[in-house]
Amino acid sequence: MRERNLFILLAIVLLIAFCLWVDLPQTQALNIQLGPIKIYREIKFRLGLDLKGGLQVVLEADLPPGEKITAEDMEAARNIVQNRVDGMGVVEAVVQRQGEKRVLVELPGIVNPDEAIATLKATGRLEFVEAGTTPLPEGLKINTTYEITPTPEVTPTITPTSEITPAVQVYRTIMTGKHLKSAKVGSDEFGRPEIDFELTPEGTEIFAKYTREHVGEFLAIVMDGVVISCPRIREAITEGRGRITSEKGFTLEEARRLAIILRYGALPVPLKVIQTRVIGPTLGQDSIQKSIRAGIIGIIVVLTFMLTYYRLPGFLADLALISYGLINLAIYKFGIPGLFPGVTLSLPGITGFLLSTGMAVDANILIFERMKEELRQGRPLPVAIEAGFSRAWTSIRDSNLSTLLTCVVLYWFGSNFGASMVKGFAITLFIGVCVSMFTAITMTRTFITFVFDLAGRLLEKRRWLLGI
């Protein structure tokens, strides 16, 4: 029994040491390379937009009432939005499908939210552009002759560097997305992925004429002013069907992505903004500092209270509570391998964590109150300890279970729309309750048994130490 207890104690100490290491601000990643074992995991706090500042937008497919959108089309729309976000160069941006017809976009640290929103929902513009005898590199921003609508184009088509050069090259547009009928992934004679496309009758005519005259030259496929592919015209394409291959060969993934862009970039689902949240950077900073201060003050009060009210067991409970905090923070930064990558902290999330510290001592209080009762009835200390833990268990189980159930409902409620705030609260409260079961029961029990083993007789004589 004693050996087993020592073993658990050792395991706890190791766990806390690991958590402490994870919690340290300078810890960036876990990187283990032992022969065949390679583990790499990033370790960092993920802050929600309400703490970091930034823009959150929920976009919805703007469809006539009654019309449905397929999951495939929605994924295509998401891809296009993702491309545009990538183009903005925002660090840690999030682009997620939400429900049937929504896309959630989170852009931390955005300076001009209005411009960003306009860029996101601009309808995609697909063009086939004359490139001449040299291929244009993928990802290059170019200026083309064609404008679809008279509305001002949001994506800047001229890069700052090209503005300086006096003669900006303007590429001639041959066809636009409206001339494209379909595009899908196929494979060439060697089984390599390629994109097969089909044109409308008008497109067929234009394309036949152009390709006949420019065999051997390059043709750029341009989306929103960015070159996405630049295949060579191998032969005249007269029957309105063609294929796009890459010099270095497409992977299946690339081909699929390109086909989607060709299909839906040409005719994307119009997206409308249904929800926007902008948190200025100052508000975020202010919230972080205030929450940290509030949290520290709250926890110190709880620690002091437990110590003065329950004396020695209170001190042990305080140790368990501090470990509780360390473990929780470590989970937020490190996640649980195989389950989730980490927790994004928001203001309600921090509240959930702090509230659960209150819950964490609740289990200890139930146990200690039971212990005291048993001691007052004249039971010897070891019996009282045992009774305290075993009898308090049903109450602890019931109260934690009802909180966990509430968390599940809250999580569902939070997943229902763009309110990740509610979700954050549910997640931290849930994790907190689970961790508290471990720290308040297993950990405190190990500590108490250990101390009793060491100084049992001393305690029998000095009962004030036990808070009686």
Partner: protein
């Protein structure tokens, strides 16, 4: 032993003293805003802007800019520094927002956008639906939980019913006070309020279950003692735990309320009020109600009333 539940009707009275004004406030709100509480843009859809200007601004002038653009239903509040304003209005689309910003810059110079929120009307409806569903689901789950917790106890029904009455009490206290605050200082129910409410519902039954657990444990041990004494004994035995636990949670919440960010003040207040109400209701409502039930006091009262009237 001191009979703690003797003054039970006073305890019930105190609860009513808090709940009834809340109910009245809800009635007034219902007449005034069409809902028992002032609803935030989370539910109604709309735009909220918090802007900080370089110079002092006049809220009246800002208001007239909005009305000039056709947004009559707009409220403008200035903070103490007279540079920061909170504006609430009907949903502004991107074009309207651009126009508003242009006008504001023309009038007062540059400003920083501290906080901006736009919620489309359709989203508001969905949030309302989801919130209603969440409250129903939570109540149902807690209900099943109570049934489960008391499945082996004689008279399980009365324990369950009393726990639920205590829970409804807490919900009424929290929502009632919020409704009053809505009328007086303009508090608005948002998604976080629903979160706080659900948390209160979950926490509310815990204290009750702990006390009921003890009554269940003590009843066979103390056969022959009057029920009221058993109940008082159980209450006193668990009182420490209830108070100490609540005290800890209250410490933390007060710390957040005093030192934490302004954006979650209302959320924390609802949690705080709900938790305190939860402790009160389990000790002074749920348990005395058990006694009322055990003594058949309502039947006796009714019999008396009928006897007198006939």
């Amino acid at each position: 032993m001191y009979n703690l539940v003797e003054k039970r009707y006073w305890f019930f009275g105190l609860s009513l003293l808090i709940i009834i004004p809340g109910l009245i406030a809800m009635g007034i709100s219902l007449a005034r805003f069409g809902a028992p509480w002032k609803l935030s843009i989370d539910f109604t859809g709309g735009t909220l802007m918090e802007l900080r200007f370089e110079q002092k601004v006049s809220p009246e002038r800002i208001y007239s800019i909005f009305t000039g653009l056709g947004y009559g239903d707009t409220t403008v509040q200035t903070a103490a520094d007279e540079r920061t304003v909170v504006i609430k209005c009907k949903p502004l689309d991107e074009e309207a927002k651009a126009r508003v910003k242009e006008e504001l810059t023309k009038e007062f110079g540059t400003f920083e956008e501290i906080h901006y929120e736009y919620i489309g009307p359709a989203v508001g409806k969905e949030v309302t639906r989801a919130a209603t569903l969440a409250v129903i689901a939570a109540s149902f789950i807690i209900l099943s939980f109570i049934v489960f917790a008391f499945r082996k106890v004689p008279n399980a029904l009365r324990y369950g019913v009393c726990a639920i009455i205590a829970m409804i009490h807490d919900v009424l206290v929290a929502t009632g006070l919020f409704s009053i605050a809505g009328l007086i200082i303009g508090w608005e129910v948002d998604a976080l309020f629903i979160t706080a409410l659900l948390t209160v519902i979950g926490f509310s039954v815990q204290d009750t279950i702990v006390v009921f657990d003890r009554i269940r444990e003590n009843t066979p041990k103390r056969r022959g003692e009057p029920f009221e004494i058993i109940v008082t004994r159980s209450l006193l035995e668990t009182l420490h735990r209830s108070l100490v636990t609540q005290l800890n949670a209250i410490f933390v919440l007060i710390a957040i309320l005093l030192f934490g960010g302004a954006t979650i003040k209302q959320f924390v207040t609802v949690l705080l009020v709900g938790l305190m109400s939860g402790t009160y209701s389990s000790i002074f409502n749920a348990v005395p109600l058990l006694v009322v039930w055990e003594n058949r006091e309502i039947q006796k009262f009714m019999a008396k009333v009928f006897a007198r009237s006939s």
